[in-house]
Symmetry: C2
Subunit: 187 residues, 2 copies
């Protein structure tokens, strides 16, 4: 088996209070399984314990002010209620833009796409979200943008991966790992 | 990437009320990521919704009376409080023994080992568990047995994989997939 494919690489998970528990923890352990270092970046002074919307406790590693885009090879934004807070922070949006515009893989699950939309990086892109989330994003977005919504579980457009619900977690993770190994494998 | 390595294979996850949420859901999605079919087997008439000890809801697929050992290529027993109920059911212990004695991979996380011990399959084996769990297992076990406790996150002894805590989920999953692909890959 392909052990430690992501050894030496660092992945940021951007979240806050009321994150969607499985949408955070599945990619968290999955990236670790491939040997990556994972840092949980939040708006809150870290380390601090935040709660999932299903009350799974999580220790954050870094505040967004401390996080440097250049340190990460990929960014993951889980869903839940956290994205609705994250999208209001300029520092959050700067970090998302910096990682995304460097062409690094950026993945969002469910409401996580709200943060990408607020950062403006979904402009003109194809993306997956449930219809109520699409509507929330269109109402909340400060940047006018045409997002080409796809009626499917997972969408990959350039370096952006969006998943409609947690049922897409296996496909999401497969797509993200494929993208990361295309970019970083030694071949 | 090695997609769908477990296509056509079925994995049973044996659990009940108050399962440890991540110890169930990480292997659940991970096996699906490799293309396996996953069935959640419980003592309760299924389908039914049970709750994790962190209150993540889960739909069970089958009761243990309906489950047939021959249908599964591997068995996973997550921790939480569920194992303390599972170990009291003769049908549960029969299923564990049947899968284990067929030489198929059997993995337990944290308190999950309690079910393996009650089924007698840890007799004389090396296994990982936290000290309080070791003591619980020794007290609760109906079968007198010498378990060779290992002071490490993960232990593999024959076809049995035991993980001390959820922190070992990445290693647990790597070990289980290695074992499954040794047995079932077409090479």
């Amino acid at each position: 088996m392909d052990e430690g494919k992501l050894k030496g690489k660092k992945v940021a998970i951007l979240t806050s209070e009321m994150y969607e528990d499985l949408e955070l923890w599945y990619p968290y352990f999955r990236m670790k399984e491939e040997g990556a270092e994972v840092e949980v970046v939040s708006m809150i002074e870290s380390p601090l314990e935040v709660m999932g919307r299903h009350y799974y406790p999580l220790k954050t590693d870094k505040s967004v002010e401390e996080a440097r885009a250049g340190d990460y090879q990929a960014l993951i934004v889980p869903g839940g209620y956290a994205p609705d807070m994250l999208r209001r922070s300029e520092e959050v949006l700067d970090l998302v833009r910096a990682i995304c515009e460097a062409g690094k893989p950026v993945g969002a699950l469910c409401q996580g796409s709200m943060v990408l939309a607020a950062a403006g990086v979904l402009k003109g892109k194809k993306a997956s979200a449930k219809v109520p989330v699409q509507k929330e994003i269109e109402k909340s977005s400060r940047v006018p943008q045409e997002i080409k919504w796809q009626d499917q579980d997972l969408t990959v457009d350039g370096n952006i991966i969006t998943a409609r619900t947690k049922q897409a977690l296996p496909d999401f993770s497969r797509a993200l790992l494929q993208m990361l190994s295309r970019k970083f494998s030694p071949r």
